[in-house]
């Protein structure tokens, strides 16, 4: 009799177990199919999404590229503009320097007859010139001494020399390095004015100033 109890228990356990398995098996067959359908759909979706992402990326890339190109173009334009502005500025500066050079050069100092000493007016002019030379520390100046044509050639050569040196000494006393100043005398050999009047003679008894123009290259387009 006990054997039968175990068989009934086993059956009681197995049959529901079987039932369950059968029913689970059936269920599983059902979700696989939907899963298969879902996977395909999922893959499509994924692909579509990926494509979309790709497209979006491409678009973004193009956008970036365009933006970059724009940026570059803008940069270039800006650079050129900056360069041009810079050049214009330099040219303006050069012109200013040249015009101040011209200003520097255009003013002579004058001497009394047969004298090489500096008059007060001459000293004022030389002070201005010293200031310019301080503001333009690269400049080198040539000082020419001249005389009116009265008097004799050799004596006037010496007098012109003394006049040029007079100016140079004053400028070095004002602090300009003497290595920046050279002197030369032309005596009576280069009169500015051929007239023989007191006024003309006064203009000829002069020291002239010239700046060495090395290193200043102007390009006029």
């Amino acid at each position: 009799m006990r054997k039968n109890v175990w068989v009934i228990l086993a059956l009681l356990l197995v049959i529901p177990g079987l039932l369950f398995t059968v029913s689970c098996a059936k269920k599983t067959v059902k979700s696989d199919a939907t899963a298969a359908v879902d996977t395909a759909k999922q893959e499509e979706a994924i692909q579509a999404r990926q494509a979309a992402i790709k497209a979006a990326e491409e678009a973004k890339k193009e956008e970036l590229a365009r933006k970059a190109a724009e940026e570059a173009a803008r940069k270039k334009a800006a650079e050129e503009a900056a360069l041009a502005a810079q050049k214009a500025k330099e040219d303006a500066e050069k012109r200013k320097i040249l015009s101040t050079i011209q200003l520097f050069e255009s003013e002579d100092i004058y001497f009394e007859y047969d004298k090489s000493r500096l008059l007060p007016a001459a000293r004022e002019v030389l002070k201005k010139k010293a200031q310019w030379l301080r503001d333009n520390p690269e400049a080198i100046a040539l000082i020419e001494g001249h005389c009116d044509e009265r008097g004799t050639n050799e004596y006037n050569l010496a007098l012109g020399e003394r006049r040029a040196r007079s100016a140079k000494t004053y400028l070095t006393d004002l602090g300009i390095s003497s290595s920046r100043l050279t002197t030369i005398s032309y005596g009576e050999e280069r009169p500015l004015d051929s007239r023989q009047t007191e006024e003309a003679w006064g203009k000829k008894r002069r020291a002239q100033f010239e700046i060495e123009k090395r290193g200043i290259v102007m390009e006029w387009g």
């Binding site: 008097g151 004799t152 050799e154 004596y155 050569l157 010496a158």
Partner: protein
Amino acid sequence: MIRQSIKKIGLVLTAVILLTAGIGHAEYDYIDISNPFLRKIPVAVPVFKAITGADGEIELSIKAADLLSSALAFTGYFKTLDRGAFLINPEEFGIVGPNINFENWTSIGAELLVTGGLTVKDKIIEMEIRIFDTFKQKLLIGKKYKGWVNDQRRMIHRFCSEVIYRFTNTRGVFDTKLAFISTGDGNKEIYFCDFDGYNPKRFTHNKSITLSPSWSSDGKWMAYTSYVKGKPDLYIRHIKEKRGTVVSKKGLNSSPAWVPGKFALAASLSFSGDPEIYLLTGNGKIIKRLTHSRGIDVSPSWSPDGKKMAFVSKRSGSAQIHIMDLDSGRVKRLTFQGKYNTQPEWSPKGDKIAYSAMGNGEINIYVVDTEGNHPVQLTHGTGNNESPSWSPDGSLITFSSTREGPARIYMMNAFGTDQRRLLVLPGQQTNPNWSPWTSRY
């Protein structure tokens, strides 16, 4: 025939020379040394005789007489008579003593007579030239010359040198030259010419300002200042061989003056900061510094014995001439009149100094003795007269003058008479410098 006459003349000539050598020059006191130019001795120089009448002889005969006349007149001692006043024609008169009727000449006032005969053959010229004392009817000098036709001028000048030597015991100026500055080619360059302005020739081609030409004592070197390298440098150049040195120190290298008889010169250099006078060798090396004074020191000129130097200095406050004794170094002021006395030139005779003085708006040539006494003004009211230079025998002074407008080279006697222009070239001519005697004969 002629050869015999010449032999005769040769004997007479020798005799005359021996005679006069014995007697001395007392009999022939023609030139008054104290005032040699006041009374000019009248000389007649008729046209030379064309002896063979060959082609070109007549032209050369006239030329010979012209050259001789102007050469004798140039010295200032003689006055040549106008040929139009001559009483006889060249073809008619004889050229040797025995054949001359001296009354034809004394009657028109000639105290001296020069006769000449010449023959020309194949570009060779032969000349015989004689000078006679018409009143004493005596031959003084007779010479014969033979050479190329082109050397006729030189032969005539040789004869004139004999004449001058005979009368003044000095060589005359016929073999001297002048250097001067002319601007005709666009820049100041140095030119040469003969003593009478003939044969002007350009010497420098610097194409820049050139100044102060100065002959060395042997006539072989020329010193000058030029801006060839852009600044006033001193060039010392051998004239024929074109070699030499440049003194190119900082500042001025100017106003060269050769020491008489030496290969050395003084010059004004300003490399120390101030124009001072230095003594240099002919190769441009400094021997000694001569002036030590602040202010301008320029334009040296040596006494003929080289012991003293005249120069311009501003040490007294204005441009004045001073004299330095080279041995002692002492400096004495020479000029005291006026405020601007420059360009001193010591006479080769040693007794006088010529200079230019500026005053009243013009520059004039003055002469003063070496003590500074009795300055005499030689030019008056005729523009600017500057840069005097003596002839080597001290009888003539050349200078530049603007009396005509543009500057020209002029000549005058040492006493200021007979001022005349030497030559005209394009542009302006200035700063003449008289050469020493350049050849020996």
